[in-house]
């Protein structure tokens, strides 16, 4: 794979823009706005510097104006206000446009925004020229800056050249540099390619702090750079510096002076490595193959009774399991990366709809497989749009009902066993049970006298094309939302549940598996066919004796410690034509809030299951979620337990038996 610096910059810039959006939104609400402004400033500064380095001059030039605006906010020249937040957000959007523009050429909107940025808060309408354009004569007017630069030890080895840096710095104005040698060890201990020198400098220049920091942009990683504006006379500053130096020199030989915590801003070195997602996918696929081959090897060793293989095979199994967990762990990302982008959505959408709402997120650190996260964004956007459009009342209505004017939407994620439950909860008007029922009767989905529980009625909303909205808006109401959400969640092997109380609010709970690639399965057999039941769904196994079937008069229920549990005969579901054993097994699974049994011939044990897609020809098979290749080379189908239950439910209602849906 060829390294493309521009592409890498684009990826980094996207991340920084996300961060900018978060910070900008928190600027409007949180305390400590100074720190947030600083954070914004740094993020824009990095985009500017890296953009210029990659030749994206339009991005760099535009960002320079935003940076200048933030510099004014930092200096206290302009106040932090909602208008400032808006402008920062618009600028963020504009940078995104510039980043994605094929030629990166600024358009009219860019110029308009630049003008707004420069004129904001009574600005002069002119901003300092970008650093590249700063002419650097010996300035009569200007400020004096004290600079302290402690390079990373590896700077020289990486090709960093302090002399060139100071030459550049000297172009900005009058520069005096002082190298500090007290950390240079003796000849026995010195590593010649490491940098032990550090520098203090005084610079008198009309250029701003950004221009100074820009000089060091290529050596920032792992270095400490402190740029302070001096209020005293340069001569005093030098004296102060010398005093500082002499005190440093009094330190014991070889001691590395710790930077004064109050003055230093440590430029943290990234300890992460950026890896393209497709490489990780390939790694996961390879581990999948490895897991399958390991299980074939284990089976072959067991069947051939080769005792000398037993220990190595067991050891291999342990290592492969560890490798599998670690590799899958690499793909886990905190769900907060997804939650972050919804703050803006809720802010913009509520403004558009004339509503007031706050989004509260919880459990942002909860981790999910990247492939699930990638596909979860769209359903959550649908849910939030629905929530704001239908559930949240206009502020006046809320006030009349005695509710706070601002609605609260709570988006949370929590681990439960091998699943993650994502909930979207609002304090709006709740689902109108009667309206849903009336609509369902009108559309002949239910009989007029049907006796349905609240849950059944709420679930009608999940049917395709179902909407009770009286008016279709560009936000929602077309009835394509919730069924799309349901379909997407089903595809992710998750489940969706609705709960609502009239006048108080609605909760949508989405239960998702942690990963889609490899699962722990229970291997069962019917006749000569083997199936995998996802272990996460299994609660227990019980026996079913032929006489018990007869005693129940053909009703498919079994008494498990006093509870009647319905069971599904998988032999019928899959039309397997082989004699039943005298004693069958029932694998009891948890489906939503009830327990359901699945009758099989034998339970063979647990199995590390690598999920393989069945391919597009079999994509409509409802009751299986994939297949896996067994140790002996046979293919086992992985049961989609909720779909099996739904299928059996339909069978009970005497619908035509069909494995292939739609």
């Amino acid at each position: 794979m060829q390294f493309n610096p521009v592409e890498t910059f684009r990826q980094e810039a996207e991340e920084l823009l996300e961060e900018i959006e978060q910070s900008a939104l928190s600027l409007g609400s949180a305390d400590g706005s100074d720190e947030v402004v600083n954070r914004l400033f740094r993020a824009f500064h990095t985009i500017k510097g890296s953009g210029a380095m990659c030749g994206l001059d339009a991005v760099a030039a535009f960002t320079h104006h935003v940076e200048s605006l933030l510099a004014r906010a930092r200096e206290g020249e302009i106040e932090v206000s909602p208008q400032l937040v808006d402008l920062v957000l618009k600028s963020k959007d504009q940078i995104k446009i510039l980043l994605n523009a094929p030629d990166g050429v600024p358009d009219a909107s860019s110029e308009e925004l630049v003008s707004s940025l420069d004129k904001f808060g009574g600005g002069s309408g002119r901003t300092n020229p970008a650093p590249a354009a700063v002419a650097a004569p010996l300035a009569e007017a200007g400020k004096t800056w004290s600079i302290q630069f402690r390079p990373s030890p590896g700077m020289l080895a990486c090709g960093g050249n302090p002399a060139a840096l100071f030459r550049e710095l000297g172009k900005l104005g009058n520069l005096e540099i002082n190298a500090h040698t007290e950390q240079v060890p003796d000849l026995e201990r010195i590593q010649p390619d490491q940098c032990y020198l550090w520098w203090t400098a005084t610079l008198h220049t009309p250029a701003d702090e950004n221009a100074i920091r820009d000089v060091f942009i290529f050596v920032e990683d792992g270095s400490q750079l402190d740029v302070d504006k001096l209020h005293q006379e340069p001569a005093d500053a030098l004296a102060a510096e010398q005093k500082d130096t002499s005190s440093s020199e009094a330190k014991p030989e070889g001691a590395v002076a710790a930077p004064p915590a109050t003055r230093q801003k440590v430029i943290s070195k990234e300890t992460t490595v950026r890896v393209p997602a497709e490489r990780l996918d390939r790694l996961v696929n390879l581990v999948g193959e490895l897991v399958m081959n390991q299980s074939r090897l284990a089976q072959a060793a067991a069947q051939n009774g080769a005792p000398e293989f037993t220990n190595p095979v067991q050891e291999l199994e342990r290592l492969v399991a560890e490798l599998r967990d670690d590799v899958l762990g690499i793909r886990m990302l905190p769900i907060g990366t997804l939650f972050g982008r919804f703050q803006r959505l809720v802010r913009d959408l509520s403004a558009e709809l004339g509503k007031e709402a706050d989004l509260v997120t919880e459990g942002a650190e909860t981790e999910l497989d990247k492939s699930i996260l990638d596909q979860l964004g769209e359903p959550l956007v649908h849910c939030l749009r629905n929530c704001l459009d239908h559930a949240v009342e206009p502020p006046d209505d809320r006030a009349k009902k005695g509710k706070p004017r601002r609605a609260k939407i709570r988006l949370s994620a929590v681990h439960t066993g091998s699943d993650v439950v994502v909930s979207i909860e609002d304090d709006g008007r709740g689902i109108d049970r009667d309206a849903v029922r009336a609509k369902a009767i009108e559309r002949q989905l239910i009989a007029a006298d049907a006796d349905l529980s609240d849950r059944d009625i709420f679930n009608l909303i999940l049917l395709p094309g179902f909407s009770t909205a009286k008016q279709v808006t560009n936000v929602s109401g077309r009835g394509v939302g919730m069924d799309a959400v349901k379909r997407q969640i089903d595809m992710l092997r998750g489940s969706l549940a609705l709960a609502s109380e009239a006048g108080k609010g609605t909760r949508i709970s989405i239960r998702l598996p942690l990963t889609l690639a490899i699962i722990e399965g229970l291997l069962v057999e019917i006749g000569r066919d083997q199936f995998i039941v996802p272990m996460s769904a299994v609660t227990e196994n019980v026996e079913l004796v032929a006489t018990q079937r007869k005693r129940n008069n053909g009703r498919n229920t079994i008494n498990v410690r006093g509870d009647l549990v319905p069971y599904i005969d998988l032999r019928k579901t899959f039309s397997i034509d082989s004699p039943r054993p005298a004693i069958e097994k029932i694998v009891i699974i948890q489906h939503e809030e009830q327990r359901v049994g699945m009758v099989v011939d034998r339970v063979l044990g647990t199995h590390q299951t690598v999920i393989q897609s069945l391919g597009k020809f079999f994509r409509n098979i409802e009751v299986v979620s994939g297949a896996t290749i067994m140790g002996d080379g046979r293919v086992s189908l992985i049961l989609d337990t909720p779909a099996v239950v739904r299928h059996a439910d339909r069978q009970c209602r005497e619908e035509p038996l069909a494995l292939v849906a739609g």
């Binding site: 020289l156 080895a157 050249n161 302090p162 002399a163 100071f166 030459r167 005096e176 540099i177 002082n178 190298a179 040698t181 240079v184 060890p185 003796d186 000849l187 026995e188 010195i190 010649p192 390619d193 940098c195 032990y196 020198l197 520098w199 400098a201 030989e253």
Partner: protein
């Protein structure tokens, strides 16, 4: 002794070290391009030379280029001499060395050079 940067042709660049015994000790003469690529070899030889000689004179008059890593190494040599109670003097600073030191704000004293002796006056002073 001759060090060359790894990717470079031997003799095309790099440094040439000559050690000469005199009445006042040993002269350690460095010629050529003194940079990070030859610093490791220079470190070894300077350390060895300091171990064997109580009085060492480093002659930099024929240094054609000098970088920060090399300047830092010369600082380390001076520090080592002080610690081991030996004398190390740098004479014959070439223009390349003085420019390099000035470029990073390093005082010539830090290298063990006597400020009173200019390179023009005593280019090869021992």
């Amino acid at each position: 002794m001759h060090y060359a940067a790894i990717p470079r042709e031997r003799g095309a660049c790099g440094v040439q070290i000559t050690q000469t015994k005199t009445d006042n000790g040993t002269t350690f003469k460095i010629q050529g391009e003194l940079d990070i690529s030859v610093a490791a070899g220079l470190q070894r030889d300077l350390a060895e030379c300091l171990r064997q000689n109580a009085h060492l004179t480093v002659d930099l008059a024929d240094v054609d280029a000098c970088d920060t890593a090399a300047l830092q190494l010369l600082c380390a040599a001076r520090r080592t001499a002080l610690l081991q109670n030996r004398t190390l003097q740098v004479f014959g600073l070439s223009q390349a060395v003085t420019i390099a030191a000035a470029g990073v704000g390093l005082s010539l004293d830090e290298l063990g050079a006597s400020a009173s002796i200019s390179p023009q006056e005593q280019p090869h002073a021992i």
